[in-house]
């Protein structure tokens, strides 16, 4: 065992994790090598420092309030029926009120069916003129409307509250969400469902509706239980941002080890194939990503006859121009031409946004 190998095993040795032959080798080496003895002392000190410091740092942690709200909301969702059914949970008064509000605001309640999802289908929304994304003053006489213009932005997603209506029996919040794929978001109520909390306690949601989609902005109205006189509420939106794209890429496999000219999925959040080589019946494809989103990828390789091959994806490695990922497929013999079909599910995962609302009138 030389000093380099000894260095590799020093930490586990000092912790008593090394056994058998490895332990004996290292013990013997340490007995004769002054440099490694010195190294062992330094390593012992470093390990101790690391353990103490990391544990201390962790023990002092505090969970940010927005994460606390989110955890409580998530657990609450676990203990009760899913969002589409919440409409039915509201009181008859609240339900009637909501319907009245929507009739006034949109002119039509949209193509939603009773008992079905509260969301207007995307096709219904885009086919008829969308109402203004900033709704202005609702015309119901039952609550006090307070215009708001507060936003919270994170990871390219913005939540903007445009108005709050404080009623005796309800709180209606109008808000818009931008920066997400509206077509996908509108099919996923959880992505646009805000949680209204007062003093850390979430208020029951009576009803909600995505009223409009325009230029990638989703406008939502949600009606909750009353905030309470003089109380301040926070609207929090844990949303998931996901986009999917699929595009075939034709690759001239015949060129062997010569890099192909960049081609492939679109450049906005997409991937480009930068190199292709055939080695021991294995096709290696190098992919460069330089877009603006975080992506999960699934790929298949297809030959001219339509035969598909599984593609194994390696870990993404950061590089000077973006992230590269090596894809490998096992192909017997020369196959040409080959088409690589990539499917990217681009996901920003969860985005946590929170907007403070004005206090309810006394």
């Amino acid at each position: 065992m030389n000093c380099e190998e000894a260095g590799l095993h020093l930490e586990p040795y000092l912790r008593g994790d090394l056994r058998g032959a490895e332990r004996s080798w290292l013990s013997a080496h340490l007995a004769t090598c002054a440099a490694c003895q010195q190294e062992a002392l330094i390593m012992q000190d470093l390990s101790k420092q690391l353990g103490t410091a990391l544990k201390t740092w962790i023990d002092q942690g505090e969970m940010p309030p927005n994460v606390q709200h989110r955890l409580r909301a998530a657990v609450r969702r676990e203990s009760r029926p899913a969002w589409p059914r919440w409409t039915a949970m509201g009181s008859a008064v609240a339900a009637a009120l909501v319907l009245a509000v929507f009739l006034v605001q949109v002119g039509s309640p949209g193509p939603s069916t009773p008992g079905a999802s509260w969301l207007v289908s995307i096709s219904g929304l885009v086919q008829r003129p969308a109402p203004s994304l900033t709704w202005g003053t609702p015309t119901t006489a039952t609550g006090k409307v307070v215009p708001v213009n507060s936003s919270s932005t994170g990871r390219g997603v913005s939540l903007t509250v445009t108005s709050v209506e404080f009623g005796a029996d309800f709180t209606a919040v109008d808000y818009t969400i931008s920066g997400i794929d509206a077509r996908l978001a509108i099919r996923q109520p959880d992505w646009v469902a805000g949680t209204l909390t007062v003093g850390g306690v979430a208020l029951p949601l009576h009803a909600g509706k995505a009223l409009a989609v325009r230029d990638g902005v989703v406008a939502v109205r949600a009606v909750y239980a009353p905030v309470g006189s003089g109380r301040a509420a926070v609207l929090a939106l844990p949303t998931v941002v996901t986009q999917r794209q699929e595009a075939p890429v034709s690759l001239p496999l015949a060129n062997g080890g010569t890099p192909v000219s960049p081609t492939g999925l679109d450049s906005a959040g997409g991937a480009q194939v930068t190199a292709l080589r055939l080695e021991n019946d294995q096709t290696h494809i190098t992919l460069l990503n330089s877009g603006a989103l975080v992506g999960y990828t699934d790929w298949t390789l297809q030959d001219a006859k339509g035969q598909t091959y599984a593609v194994r994806a390696g870990a993404a490695e950061p590089g000077p121009k973006g992230y590269t990922q090596e894809l490998t497929a096992s192909i017997a013999g020369a196959v040409q031409p080959v088409q690589l079909t990539g499917q990217k599910a681009i996901s920003l995962r969860q985005v946590n946004l929170a907007v403070d609302l004005p206090r309810a009138p006394q």
Binding site: L46, L50, Q60, M63, V75, S79, A292, V294, G295, P318
Partner: protein, 169 residues
């Protein structure tokens, strides 16, 4: 809030700050830590009835769920191509410098995913090398080499910091 929710959160509350930082330390940023924590807490709540040992056992039990969830996220990350400009995603890496342990955490936070996770599991969670290999789904030899590389980098960073402080003092 139901009684079971109340009880669950009363046990979670004293632990939540530590759990949050554990997830942050393993995953390297607060956004992913929040995601993982949410998944872990839901899982814990679902299985709350199976907790043996009551309130005393809760801290260890829930911590194990959080660490497992974070390890799962790291395993999944192998498939992820983070094409977002990394600087846009960068969270504040360290807490206030006065906080005890923050200087070392700052150095650990600068390690890349692969090295940081091994260091945190090893020194904050006291996992054996075999456990780390299993948790991250990597060979034992890779754990050793990552640990070795990470310690070399940390040593250089900590030495530099001490030298700077001495220089500044």
């Amino acid at each position: 809030m139901s009684e079971s929710e109340e009880y669950f959160f009363s046990l979670l509350k004293p632990e939540q700050g530590k759990l949050y930082r554990t997830a942050w330390a393993i995953l390297g940023n607060e956004a992913d830590a929040s995601d993982a924590l949410q998944e872990a807490v839901i899982r814990a709540y679902r299985n709350f009835g199976q907790l043996k040992g009551g309130a005393l056992a809760f801290p260890y039990w829930v911590r194990r769920i959080v660490v497992n969830q974070c390890s799962q996220v790291l395993r999944r990350r192998k498939r992820v191509i983070p094409v977002e400009h990394p600087e846009d995603l960068k969270e504040e890496a360290a807490s206030a410098p006065e906080e005890p342990g923050a200087d070392i955490w700052e150095a650990v936070a600068k390690l890349d995913d692969r090295h940081r996770a091994v260091v945190v599991l090893r020194f904050a969670e006291d996992k054996s090398l075999e456990d780390i290999a299993r948790a991250l789904d990597i060979p034992l030899g890779t754990v050793k080499s990552r640990l070795h590389t990470a310690l070399k980098q940390l040593r250089a960073h900590i030495t530099d910091n001490h030298a700077e402080r001495r220089g500044a003092g």
